[in-house]
């Protein structure tokens, strides 16, 4: 869970990342059931090492869910395997809020709607191949 909570600082670190050279994959990450409230933090990773460790995401986005924004498209990603971590910052404080015992209280999810095993979903469960127009539809829970 703590790794999930670490999305926020990682997002901040990675905010300067720009688009890669023109390649085939256009990745759309959608949260169709997200409540119109706060913001949705999205981080896209392109390797297991970056996804599971301290590495930076390849792409990040902050969706204005309060204004109805529930999807984002990352254009021109190199074809390859990716995984997405996201959480719904319902109160817009920029943090993954936790209960007094340290468990997340704001909805979070991973690509493939993968669920972990007493922690964040593994790269193995969350990874997907992106090539051409690719959509990940994710339920934040």
């Amino acid at each position: 869970m703590k790794t999930v909570a670490a999305i926020a600082p990682v997002l901040a670190l990675a905010a300067a990342l720009t688009a890669a050279p023109a390649f085939a994959a256009d990745l759309t990450v959608a949260f169709p059931s997200a409540a119109p409230q706060g913001q949705i933090m999205v981080a896209v990773f392109n390797s297991e090492a970056n996804y599971g460790g301290e590495g930076q995401p390849a792409q990040v986005a902050i969706l204005d869910a309060a204004a109805g924004q529930t999807s984002v498209t990352f254009d021109g990603l190199p074809d390859g395997d990716y995984a997405v971590r996201a959480f719904h910052d319902l109160n817009g404080d920029g943090k993954m809020n936790t209960n007094p015992f340290g468990m997340p209280v704001e909805p979070f999810a991973f690509s493939n709607n993968a669920v972990g095993n007493m922690g964040p979903a593994s790269w193995e469960r969350a990874k997907f191949a992106a090539a051409g127009a690719t959509t990940q539809s994710i339920d934040l829970k």
């Binding site: 209960n99 209280v105 669920v115 972990g116 095993n117």
Partner: protein
């Protein structure tokens, strides 16, 4: 047995759980099938394959009291075994809510599984994969939060037009009271989502409800208004990280009994992280309901327990409550595995009732009765107040698991009255239901089911508390046998 040897044996039990694979489980099941050695009581932990539609129960004995109208909701595990791996511990089966409805002298029974993430995952995989209290689980588990492991299988409380299926380490799961269909996990306040809400809420004389949720060396103390909305929740530090299934309360105090079964490692299942250290004794932490920072700590010799009775405070500050106590946690570790195996010997002795007294001068003492008993229940009109009676299951003997009778113990007179069905019945917890308009403690019924092993059917019994030894005043029989459940609540 010395403590160190016991610890070693428990460690060994945990280790063997850790290396059990689904293949081993299947092999063991195959061996079982060959040996066909199921005990006569194995019906009490059989699997139920699907929901059970409401059916009219057949009156097979006596006559129902006309004034008795209401529903007994009961929760308990009802699915342990799947082709690709099984729950190995009684506490880890899928929760199934039962409703016994009594009206106009008739009784009906229906039962429905709690539709949990755990059950959905394991149905899809055709395997029990989720770690639990005593089941190791495996790498296929999908646990993003503690409620993904929630079996919703332990107890139940009524909340308006819902009943909440309670577990130990997660949120209540709201079900419709009318058809038992699953609605949602209950979040009492957004910032408390997922906080553990244990299976034994205590009802206060003012109509409010207290409960606890523990996590190692701290616990959340819940206080709910009579309408089940949250009044307050506070986290308090505990003097030790003890396994706690129950707590108790007087009208003025929350009482946490910290047994010497302590978390010493982070491990799954839960039992693998616990070590029995009787030399530490049992601590009793008393918190003032009006100010949870006001606390007193009492020391008792070490004992093991799951269940406590309602507590009361006397005028001079003395606090008393009862407990179903035993010498060690062997039932919790090994006995509950024997139950799911459906054969074998449950180690240790059955629990006995004891009365704990906390004196104003800081001393504490514990007086054991010679009464074998579990699942203590008391008069809800006196919850948190002075009472004399404890109703409980009885008849369990060394070497044969599960109760066979019901009894009422009077702490003032020291006398017990019991009705023994015999070993062809597995008797479940009975709830204490006051007679309408009556106030005396004995003016009440006990309402609870049993599994009739001879007939292969679940029965529902009504006893008069004042004459329990006369046997049930009414008994109905279903046309199915449900596995034995854990805890219930009466909705009058």
């Amino acid at each position: 047995m010395t403590p160190s040897r016991r610890s070693f044996l428990m460690g060994a039990a945990a280790l063997s759980a850790a290396v059990a694979t689904p293949e081993m489980t299947r092999a063991a099941a195959a061996l079982d099938a060959v040996a066909a050695t199921k005990a006569d009581w194995a019906l009490a932990t059989q699997d139920v394959e699907g929901d059970i539609a409401r059916q009219t129960m057949r009156l097979v004995h006596g006559r129902a009291p006309a004034e008795l109208q209401g529903a007994l909701y009961r929760n308990g595990p009802a699915k342990f075994r799947r082709p690709g791996g099984s729950a190995t511990h009684w506490f880890d089966g899928d929760g199934m809510m039962r409703a016994f409805r009594i009206q106009d002298g008739q009784a009906t029974l229906e039962a429905r599984f709690a539709d949990t993430p755990k059950r959905r995952t394991e149905t899809e995989l055709a395997a029990v994969v989720t770690p639990g209290f005593g089941t190791k689980g495996d790498g296929r588990a999908r646990i993003g939060s503690n409620d993904d492991a929630n079996a919703a299988n332990t107890a139940v409380m009524v909340a308006g037009d819902q009943v909440w299926a309670l577990w130990e380490a997660g949120s209540p799961l709201a079900l419709s009271a009318s058809d038992l269909s699953t609605r949602n996990f209950v979040t009492l306040r957004d910032d408390l989502k997922g906080m553990p809400f244990q299976a034994h809420p205590r009802y206060a004389p003012d109509g409010s409800i207290w409960n606890v949720g523990s996590a190692g060396g701290q616990a959340v103390i819940w206080h709910l208004r009579p309408d089940r909305s949250l009044s307050d929740a506070q986290v308090v530090p505990l003097p030790r990280a003890s396994y706690m299934h129950d707590f108790t309360a007087t009208d003025r105090h929350v009482i946490l009994v910290l047994q010497p079964w302590v978390f010493t490692t982070h491990a799954m299942p839960v039992t693998a992280g616990l070590t029995w250290r009787p030399e530490m004794g049992t601590q009793v932490l008393v918190l003032d309901k009006d100010d949870l920072s006001k606390r007193r700590l009492y020391e008792l010799p070490g004992f093991f327990h799951f269940h406590l009775g309602d507590a009361w405070a006397e005028r001079d500050g003395t606090i008393r409550f009862d407990v179903a106590a035993s010498g060690d946690p062997r039932f919790a570790v090994d006995g509950a595995r024997v139950l799911v195996d459906g054969h074998g010997v449950v180690p240790g002795d059955p629990a006995k009732l004891a009365l704990i007294t906390l004196h104003p001068d800081g001393r504490a003492d514990m007086a054991y009765s010679d009464v074998v008993g579990e699942f203590p229940k008391a008069d809800p009109r006196r919850a948190g107040l002075k009472r004399s009676l404890t109703a409980h299951t009885s008849g369990e003997t060394r070497g044969r698991p599960l109760p066979t009778g019901l009894a009422v113990h009077d702490w003032d007179s020291g006398r017990s009255h019991a009705f023994e069905f015999g070993v062809h019945q597995v008797v479940e917890e009975a709830v204490f239901v006051p007679k309408p308009g009556a106030t005396a403690e004995r003016d009440a019924w006990l309402v609870g089911p049993s599994v009739n092993l001879k007939d292969g059917r679940t029965e529902l019994h009504i006893f008069d508390v004042a004459r329990i030894e006369d046997g049930p005043v009414a008994t109905w029989q279903a046309d199915v046998a449900m596995p034995a459940g854990f805890h219930g609540v009466w909705a009058g």
